[in-house]
């Protein structure tokens, strides 16, 4: 038997907690500040509670006729899908870490190269040319042309 405490239930619970907290916090706010959070918070709390109730009542039934803008493919083995999801989550977080450590200017070409070589298993020519292209975009377009104020990486700020 499938547990009722599935991801759908937990997401609805998280939304209900946020809505409940927003309503509680707005009790101490002035009228103007509290008006909109209360008006949004009440239906949000009610709808998330209804969603939780629906999860409890029909835990094993797939929802039909609902409107979604995107659906995941179901023909991939769940284990492979989970591995791919974890991999892309890790790459995204890794890119964030690279940006914080080295700054955008170095992190972008480094990430593009590492991703193409390690995850994409691409050849040296393609990997190096894409890395050069990303560095050119970063340096030429965003740094030289648009003069965006990119912060220094944490590693470099330690030395200066």
């Amino acid at each position: 038997m499938k547990s009722v405490f599935n991801l759908r239930f937990l997401l609805a619970l998280a939304v209900a907690i946020i809505a409940g907290y927003a309503l509680y916090a707005s009790l101490y706010w002035p009228f103007r500040t509290a008006l909109f959070p209360r008006v949004i918070g009440v239906p949000l709390l009610a709808l998330s509670l209804v969603e939780m109730l629906l999860c409890l009542v029909s835990a094993e039934k797939a929802r039909e006729g609902h409107a979604v803008d995107f659906e995941m493919t179901m023909d991939v083995d769940p284990l492979v899908a989970r591995k791919r999801t974890l991999a892309i989550f890790s790459w995204t977080l890794g890119f964030m870490a690279l940006i914080l450590l080295f700054g955008f200017t170095l992190a972008v070409p480094l990430f593009v190269f590492l991703y193409l070589k390690l995850a994409g298993k691409e050849g040296w020519v393609l990997s190096l040319s894409m890395t050069a292209l990303s560095w050119l975009t970063m340096e030429g377009l965003f740094n030289r042309l648009l003069h965006l104020p990119f912060p220094e990486g944490w590693l470099f700020s330690l030395w200066t």
Binding site: L7, R8, L11, A12, R32, L35, F36, V39, R63, E64, G65, H66, A67, V68, D69, F70, E71, M72, T85, I88, F89, W91, T92, L93, F95, M96, I99, L100, F104, V108, F111, V112, Y115, L116, A119, G120, K121, E122, L126, M130, S134, T137, F142, L148, P149, F150, P151
Partner: protein
Amino acid sequence: MALFFCTVALSFFFLNQLAKLTLVRGAVLIPFILFLAFIGSYTSNNHLGDLIVFLFFGFLGYFMIRCNWPRAPLVLGFVLGKIAENNFYISTIRYGSSWLLRPVVLILVLLTLIVIVYPAIRLGKRRSAPSEKTA
């Protein structure tokens, strides 16, 4: 305005070439998409904190897809939230709760109810149709 029309015209001009992007392997596209997404979120305020917001909403979007929650209402809420809050406050201060009974508001409420109720009715009809056939 001229820039807008130029962008649209250029997009139409390169439409065939742009469509070929769908044929590029995911492994080649992903680093560039992530790069542009990170740059885009950073340049909104030139603050690294926006990257955390970007990651949070990225993960939230993934879990919403997993739970079959549509993401469009959330995006609409974020885009229209500030405008709605300002005008909601102005209406409440100016008219009190009586603004809820104005004709335009009533029509909008009616349309909203139709949008909410219609899919449920359609689903009910679809479910009853096969059972009628089998009976």
